[in-house]
Symmetry: C2
Subunit: 177 residues, 2 copies
């Protein structure tokens, strides 16, 4: 059963990628990953806003930047993570997920711009969430939902200042601190 | 069984929202919706790039702009669509999806900026994909995957110029025209 997830974002350009990379980080956190490593331009604004979400809504969740994707992938592999690269060219997720679920530690790699060939080669699995062009944010969310069989949807977060009480209409936020 | 899906994007600002709205449109198409209606600034660039994807990778998929979200929601309701608004404040998706799946025609509303109160009130369901802040792109994809029980993942597209042959490593694209 997957119980330790790290997301590796391949590529980030300051300003231009701000919103998309932020969405990736927030999806990683909300769907049960413990950390995101962003291999690209160091962007303190993103870190600040994601950390603010973690403070407010709970954790643990870490965000950090790295310069070299290859080094990071190798490091994570050495630490026992199974590397899964999400790409529309990869094996269909509905066929691959059963096998991937058996691993405890999974690192999910998502690209932004074109991804170097080495990523495909270093990855243990190249997996396509549909074989259509769409969004790495969507691919990440659906993949995390599937490899955890939906358990992440009711995950509790620690140290949160607030949480939501689900409602059929309107908004209800409970202050915890 | 859900067999007719329209996505309504609430809000769009030219330039600023270009990438996020594009991702929403591409996710709608890739995950089985037949159309997206964007209620916000008319943005010919988005239409052009999404239409180009549909030409290349197949359809049918329509993208259009509308000025008034309320009129659109009411029109879709009249046409028999069940309106589902995705919001972190709503009922948990894992509890709501069983009931929603029984409907044939579903319109999924996703916000960008703050959504007017009227959206919550007009919607037949307000549904949260997790009760955490993340991304409307992710929420849309996971929701569409769940209400179609994964069937959309192997959806065939008509009139495509090319398609992908899934591969464990590397890329394989088949020209169809």
């Amino acid at each position: 059963m997957v119980s330790d997830i790290v997301v590796l974002r391949y590529g980030h350009r300051t300003v231009r990628d701000y919103r998309v990379t932020s969405h990736c980080a927030l999806v990683a956190r909300a769907f049960g990953a413990g950390a995101i490593v962003i291999c690209g331009a160091k962007d303190p604004e993103i870190k600040k806003s994601v950390d603010a979400v973690t403070t407010r809504w709970g954790g643990p969740f870490r965000i950090r930047f790295a310069e070299q994707w290859k080094k990071e992938m190798e490091k994570l592999k050495k630490k026992g993570y199974t590397l899964v690269h999400l790409t529309m060219y990869g094996s269909a997720v509905e066929k691959a997920e059963g096998e991937i679920r058996k691993h405890k530690k999974v690192c999910v790699i998502i690209g932004s711009q074109k991804v170097a060939r080495g990523v495909y080669e270093l990855a243990d699995y190249n997996v396509g969430v549909t074989q259509q062009p769409h969004s790495e944010i969507a691919a990440l969310a659906v993949f995390l939902d599937r490899i955890q069989a939906g358990k992440e949807l009711s995950k509790g977060f620690k140290g949160a200042e607030r949480k939501i009480a689900p409602k059929k209409r309107g908004k209800s936020v409970i202050a915890l601190k």
